[in-house]
Structures are given as C-alpha cells and as structure tokens.
C-alpha cells in the first residue's frame, strides 16, 4: 500500500513526530559538514544534502555506549543494565544506511539477543528517501542495498517533484504514517509508476561505478588471495581504523569500566579489527601481529561467502564512505578490484 504526501505538508508531519520522540536528520554544521543530528524543528531539515560521512549507526550503537551501571556501597555492589528506550525517528536517511542498520540489528538479534542494542533499534523508525541520483562514490547497486529498497525500511519516500510517494515497510512505518493523519493520501497509479521509472533510471545511471563483489567473494572464500598480495596492499593501509568508524555494518567493540564519582559505568567502546591490539592477548601473543592478516580479516568478514551465508547479506552496503575516509588507499572498491585482478597498482 503506497501513500503520498505533498511536499509542503511534510514539515507538519515532522512537527508531529517531534511531539513523539527525537527526530534525527542530516543537518549542516557551521563548519560546512553534514552530520546526523537531533533537530528541534521541522525547518531544520534540508532534503537535498549529501549523505553525511558519519553514518547513523551512532543512534543504535553510540561510539561510547553505557551498558551497565555499577554502584559501590562499601564492599557491596549493585549492578543495573542501562536502558535507552527513547523513541527516535531517523528522517532523510538513505537506502544504504537503512540496510546498514538492518544488518546491525540482525547481528544483535542473533542468540543471545542484545537487549541494549535492540531497545534502541526497536524504538527507532527509519524514514528513508530513495536515491534517484547515485552519489559520486556509492556502489549500493552491487550490494543490493540501493538505490531503492524493497524491504528493511519503515517508510521509504520517493521524490516525485511536488510530492513524495511513501511506501510503508513495517508496522512502525504504518504507525508513523498514521501519526500524519490527514496529511497522507493514497498514492495514484501514476505516482506508483513514476516511482518505478525513477528507480529504473537510477539503476541505469550507475554505469561504471561497480564493485565486483562476486569475483572477490569467490576468491576470498576459497583462500585464493595470495599472501604477497595482502602484503602489498597492507603497505597502503595506515591503520587509521576510519573504515570501521564510518562503515554502516561495522560493530566491533571493547568493554571498559568508566569511573564516575565512586561508581562505574561499564561502556561498550567502538573498536577496529585493523588495530594491532585488537587481537593482542594478555600473554603478549598476537595472532594477527602483521597488518596483512588484519586486512585479510576485514575483507573476509565483509565479503566472504561464509559470512554471507551466516548473515544473509554481504557485509557492505556500498555507501562509499570508506572511499572517502581511507587515509591510505585500501578502501573496499580498491581492494575488491585488486583481488579480482590479482594484483595491486599494476
């Protein structure tokens, strides 16, 4: 069932959502960057901004995530899980990020299901805008995560000019549309066709922007990427871990207790498999002491058939953020290409 909403009615809808919870959207900072932030009024939402470099996973998996409160009273301790059940609406996000959050949710739903994460994701409504123009560095078409989605969103908007088509993908999406009572109407046949045409056009316009996952997946999964190639590539990696920070599907973490006024807050901290210390054991032994093995690990986790069959999706949503953020030259498209060709920079 598809709905439509006139563009000039959207701010009314957002104002209603602001009554119900936090509304998060890309906004421009004084420095000129675009960041997902909480908005206080519908007027703050600008619809034609580039996708922020920093993904919205921040709102389900904060970089520093308080999970347990530990209070001390003499020798005795009381522990309590920290709950964040705030209702949040993520507005003007994109297909790649919707798939990213869906991926993270699947990871944290796997037995044993992580209540800390799920409390946040269960209360987060994803209102995405389908991409009618591919972004310069994206390759979502290769990872089945865009430019338009057929699932995983709560509500998917398509810009039809004067109005948005609104596809509802879940009960949360339905409820969100219901909140905008009177602002939505049933979409017309023409509007639905228009949306299909826009998707087709968008898919066609990717052109050369492809990332040969299938071939890389085969080679990685069967151990056919030679050590010397990983070695060579690893010379072009500066171990910044930026890829892990901005990747919508990365979720590795560490756990540490933060002291606060005589008690502690146990926090989950974002971590990176690219750091040498990620696998460093207390004994000093490190199974991935060499950077080439850490690189190999990253791409195995993202692109292998073994993980694909475990997770039901490849660990990449083609958003292109790693291409921007890589301090060296070893982002996903570059590595996948090198694996396919069997050489680096030749």
């Amino acid at each position: 069932m598809a709905f439509a909403i006139e563009k000039n009615a959207v701010s009314g809808w957002l104002e209603r959502l602001l009554q119900l919870g936090e509304v998060i959207a890309p906004t421009r900072t004084p420095s000129g960057d675009v960041l997902f932030s909480n908005i206080r009024s519908a007027a703050e939402v600008t619809w034609d901004l580039p996708n922020p470099l920093h993904p919205p996973k921040e709102f389900v998996l904060p970089q520093t995530d308080p999970i347990v409160q530990i209070k001390r009273n003499g020798k005795q301790h009381e522990v309590e899980a920290i709950h964040d059940g705030r209702r949040r609406f993520l507005v003007n996000t994109r297909s790649c990020d919707v798939k990213g959050i869906a991926f993270l949710t699947r990871m944290h739903e796997m037995e044993p299901a992580d209540a800390s994460y799920l409390r946040r994701s269960n209360n987060l409504t994803l209102i995405s805008v389908a991409c009618t123009t591919p972004c310069p560095l994206g390759f979502c078409i290769c990872t089945d995560s865009g430019p338009f989605l057929s699932s995983s969103y709560d509500a998917q908007l398509t810009d039809l000019g004067q109005s948005y088509l609104v596809e509802v993908g879940s009960a949360k999406g339905e409820a969100t549309v219901a909140e905008g009572q009177g602002l939505f109407r049933k979409a017309t046949e023409t509007e639905v066709s228009q949306r299909r045409e826009l998707e087709e056009k968008a898919r066609q316009s990717f052109g050369d922007q492809t990332c040969h996952f299938a071939s890389a997946m085969r080679r990685i999964s069967t151990g056919r990427v030679q050590d010397p190639l990983w070695q060579k590539m690893s010379d072009w990696c500066l171990e910044c871990g930026g890829c892990n920070v901005v990747c919508p599907t990365c979720y590795c973490f560490s756990v540490k207790d933060l002291g606060r006024d005589g008690s502690w807050i146990r926090c989950r901290l974002r971590d990176s498999c690219q750091y040498a210390a990620f696998t460093l054991e207390a004994s000093g032994h490190n199974p991935r002491a060499q950077r080439k093995y850490r690189m190999k690990r990253r791409f195995f986790h993202k692109v292998s058939a073994q993980y694909y069959s475990r997770d039901g999706a490849v660990g990449c949503v083609g958003c292109g953020r790693c291409v921007q953020v890589c301090l060296g030259a070893t982002h996903m498209p570059a590595v996948v290409s090198a694996i396919r060709k069997g050489n680096w920079h030749e």
């Binding site: 005795q76 522990v79 944290h108 044993p112 207790d257 989950r268 207390a282 991935r288 073994q306």
Partner: protein
C-alpha cells in the same frame, strides 16, 4: 532479548596461591538461587568482572559435579588480573556465563582418557578430570601427564599428590628444570609418553598448555596412532563479550567463545583466519 552484559554478583570465598603469580579463586554467588541455577560443562568459561577495570574470560577450573566450589585459577598478566589478585575473601566480583562449548563429556564415557597438560594449561583440564574422577566408573583408564618449567610452577600441588596416590589414575609429573629436593621426572611433558601404555583406538586425548608443548604433544600422539579428531585441545583468543558479538575472538567465521574454546585437532586444522 536479554541484558547480556549484566553480570551476577559473586563473592570470593576462598583464595589459594598455586605459584608466586597464580592463585585459585573460589566464588560463591551472592544470590543463592543464581548459584543453584548455574549449570556448566567442563571446558566452559566465564567473563569475570573486576569492578572498575572491566572483564576478562577465565575457564572454569572446577567440576560441575562440585557446584559449591566454583573456581578459577588466574595468573597475574595485566591490569585486570593485577587488580583481581589484590582482592580478598568476601570481596565481590561479577560473573557472566557460562560461555563456550565445553568438553563433550558424554562422548568420553567408556573411553580411556589421556590428559596432557603443561603449566597454566592444567586448570581447564582439571574441570574435566574431577568430573571424570567423581563419576569414575563411567570411564575407562585415566592417565594424567602434567609438567611445568620448575616445581614451583606446578599448580594444584596437593591434588597432584592425591592423583599420584590413587590406584584408579595413572599420574606422572615432570619439570623442565629441577630444583633441589625434586624427585620426579625431568624433561618436557611429551617425554612422559614413553612411561605409559597408550591405547589410541579406545582413547581420547586432551592437551592443554603452552603452544610449543601442544605442538610437540600432538605430533607425538599422532605418531603414536591417535586420530586427530580424538585429540582435543582448547584455543585461546583475546575476548571481550564472550557471546560472539565483539568479534575479537573470531577465526574466519568461527568464534572461539561460541564454537570453542574446545576443539579437536582436526577442527583446529580447518580453522583458517
């Protein structure tokens, strides 16, 4: 969904120094109901919280046949274990678990069991050894071969004496370098193989210890006719969550905290990162 990071509170009930840097901690859950509900398999581990520092994984060194004596044997290697060693009886720690696959005790019934341990590798096996000894009639021959660098580095010294005295256990101990007063064997643990009659076809071998010892022991056992799938060991990896989510312990798409830490040698060969 669960609050998977929320620990239960336990108190240190007994502390026993095994070596200058290794101590056995006995734990008792503050909530007795939780204590009764804590069922585990030998070979499983817990995530132990030292409040203010964080958590670390430690194998359960006691047997499920003795639930009142939940024990871990911990060596001082870093910030957290340093802090743990500073705690005393009655002090509180946090416990999450049990985690991991544990040893397959059922599969060992009726079999001859060979335990090969070196240094701090004995604690994980001790859990299974006492499980077996507490149900002695259900298992075949029990052979325990143990060694450490020096006599001072041997853990569970009193229990070793007990095992040596038992007629239903064949027990041999060795050290790499002797000290005055040492009357036992001198040499690496695998050098004890020649002292015992082994029956590879009816046996399961459990090997735990420093990597080099495991390597030689496994080599020797295979040479003596043991099949790789009948030689069982435990893998160690840096761990944080213990539940397969933080990714620190991943080897390929396997997670040592969930698919392990117990693996047989055939499986270990297949584990490719």
């Amino acid at each position: 969904m669960n609050d998977v990071f929320l620990p239960d509170i336990a108190r240190l009930a007994d502390l026993c120094d095994e070596t200058p840097d290794t101590r056995t901690f006995r734990l008792r859950f503050r909530d007795l109901g939780k204590g009764k509900d804590f069922h585990f398999l030998p070979g499983q581990f817990i995530e132990l919280s030292v409040f203010g520092y964080g958590e670390a994984p430690f194998c359960i060194a006691s047997s499920p046949t003795r639930p009142e004596a939940l024990e871990m044997t911990v060596r001082r290697t870093g910030q957290l274990t340093d802090a743990l060693h500073k705690l005393g009886e009655g002090d509180e720690v946090g416990v999450r678990g049990p985690f991991g696959n544990g040893f397959n005790v059922e599969a060992a019934r009726g079999k001859d069991l060979l335990f090969v341990a070196g240094g701090i590798g004995l604690p994980p096996l001790r859990s299974l050894i006492w499980n077996v000894l507490d149900e002695r009639s259900r298992f075949g021959q029990v052979t325990v071969l143990y060694g450490a660098r020096t006599p001072a580095d041997l853990v569970y010294k009193r229990e070793l004496e007990e095992w040596a005295k038992r007629s239903d256990v064949e027990f041999h101990v060795t050290v790499d370098s002797a000290q005055p007063g040492w009357t036992g064997s001198v040499g690496v643990v695998p050098s004890l193989f020649k002292k015992v009659a082994l029956h590879p076809e009816t046996s399961l071998a459990y090997v735990c210890g420093p990597p080099i010892m495991i390597k030689i022991a496994v080599q020797d056992l295979v040479g003596l006719g043991f099949k790789e799938e009948n030689i069982i060991s435990t893998l160690e990896r840096m761990m944080q969550c213990g539940i397969g989510k933080c990714n620190h312990c991943a080897i390929g798409h396997h997670y040592v905290c969930r698919d392990g830490p117990v693996f047989n040698c055939g499986q270990i060969k297949e584990l490719v990162d």
